[in-house]
């Protein structure tokens, strides 16, 4: 009976002693909460972004630890440990959320920067395009100007060619005209020569070594006088006309007689008759510088003085026409 009383008492004492000497039995849920909390505390993202939530979890964990160290009921410790554990998880998720939100906000800024970059590039692209267009249009303009210059040059060279052609045509025309002129001149010269000959022939001129000679016969003078008859004046007039047409030609007037009478008389008569013709020519407008004259008396007969016909032939005045240079060979 005594033993029976002692045993419970011993057990109670043992239980009290055990309670004092050792910590309460491990609580696995509390261990998990502690472990989670220390991991979260080591995570700078959680400590910086979810400081309030982590502090809340710490307070709850303190309560759980306190309950556990006071050896309160397992249900209470489990409960407090569970709440603390969930609150650590909340702190972790909060940190995750805030980090993601920060990332979104940074990304928004980045997106704006990218958009700005895009617009800047578009603007640059547009500017480059505009510059390229401008350069192209400038090049086109230059090409157009070049083309115009070339066509102008072509036109100028065409014009020059035309002018040259015209000049050549003109030169050819001139050459033709010159040729015509030359031919005409030649023809005219020939004409003149023929005309001269014809006129002189009409005056019954004869061709001699000294030139054409027109002879005024004795019948054209009054007998033994120097005065020209009207027929002689007519002949002299024809000669004067001739010399008017050929101003480069001069005349030599020579008077002759027959052998009848004295020499001095004959010389005088031949002088006067030559002078008479000269005076007539001067009267008809011929320049005195073109006329030379002299009498030869009975010298240089052209026929015999023995017959009347011969003597008549010897009584004469000869007019020698010079060449084109105005020269007459002396007798």
């Amino acid at each position: 009976m005594k033993n029976n009383r002692i045993l419970p008492l011993t057990l109670v004492v043992a239980a009290v002693l055990a309670g004092c000497s050792s910590l309460p039995a491990n609580n696995s849920l509390l261990d998990e909460a502690r472990n989670d909390y220390s991991i979260a505390q080591a995570n700078p993202q959680v400590t910086s972004l979810a400081a309030g939530e982590l502090r809340q979890a710490g307070n709850s964990l303190d309560k759980a630890n306190s309950a556990w160290s006071k050896d309160e009921s397992k249900a209470k410790v489990d409960h407090l440990a569970y709440v603390a554990k969930q609150e650590v998880a909340i702190a972790r998720e909060t940190a995750d959320q805030k980090a993601a939100e920060l990332a979104v906000s940074n990304a928004t800024a980045e997106r704006d920067a990218v958009r700005l970059e895009g617009r800047t590039r578009e603007a640059e692209y547009a500017q480059r395009s505009a510059q390229i267009s401008q350069r192209q249009s400038e090049a086109a303009e230059r090409d157009a100007r070049d083309s115009q210059r070339q066509s102008e040059a072509s036109q100028r060279s065409a014009e020059a060619s035309q002018r040259q052609a015209e000049a050549q045509t003109q030169a050819a025309n001139i050459a033709q005209l010159n040729a015509q002129d030359a031919r005409q001149q030649a023809e005219a010269a020939q004409d003149r020569a023929l005309q001269l000959e014809a006129q002189l022939k009409a005056m019954e001129a004869t061709k001699t070594e000294r030139g054409m000679v027109v002879t005024l016969g004795d019948v054209l003078f009054d007998t033994d006088e120097a005065q020209l008859k009207s027929g002689g004046v007519h002949n002299v007039q024809k000669l004067a006309d001739f010399f008017r047409q050929y101003p480069q030609r001069n005349v030599m007037i020579e008077g002759f007689t027959d052998s009848t009478g004295s020499d001095s008389h004959n010389q005088n008569l031949s002088d006067r008759r030559a002078d008479s013709v000269r005076t007539a020519l001067l009267g008809m407008g011929m320049g005195s510088e073109r006329i030379t004259w002299r009498g030869y008396g009975e010298s240089y007969p052209v026929a015999s003085n023995d017959t009347a016909a011969g003597r008549q032939q010897n009584r004469r005045v000869e007019m020698i026409v010079s060449d084109d240079n105005g020269k007459i060979a002396p007798r």
Partner: protein, 124 residues
């Protein structure tokens, strides 16, 4: 009434006081129940069922048990269950929010990448 009887009466009153005091120290956790219900509603609205199904189920389960404990007038158990349900619901809400935020960050990163590619193609 003998003195012995007085002792008995005093003992009975003392016990009754202790019992009443015990009742007064575990009040009805009406406020906590309301807070926990609100937390579950918020978590559900935030998409907790989709992003944190385990926590959501746990919160709802604990809330149901809390209501049972309330019915049994086991207020201490009801409070603990309601508090745990609140913690679960808050965690579910946070998980949903952080998952959405991470998703948004990923989408934004993709957007930026696409935008950059487009710009690079355009400007070439």
């Amino acid at each position: 009434m003998s003195s012995h009887q007085w002792y008995r009466a005093a003992g009975a009153i003392g016990i009754a006081a202790v019992v009443m005091a015990g009742c007064a120290s575990v009040p009805k956790p009406t406020e906590q129940i309301a807070v926990s219900n609100s937390a579950i509603t918020n978590a559900s609205r935030a998409g907790g069922a989709e992003f944190a199904p385990v926590e959501m189920r746990s919160a709802q389960d604990k809330m149901a048990r809390a209501h049972q404990a309330m019915a049994k007038e086991d207020y201490e158990d009801a409070r603990r269950l309601a508090e745990e349900a609140q913690a679960d619901a808050m965690l579910a809400e946070k998980k949903a929010e952080s998952a959405k935020a991470r998703k948004a960050a990923v989408v934004m990163g993709d957007d930026i990448r696409v935008l950059r590619e487009e710009i690079n193609r355009k400007s070439k």
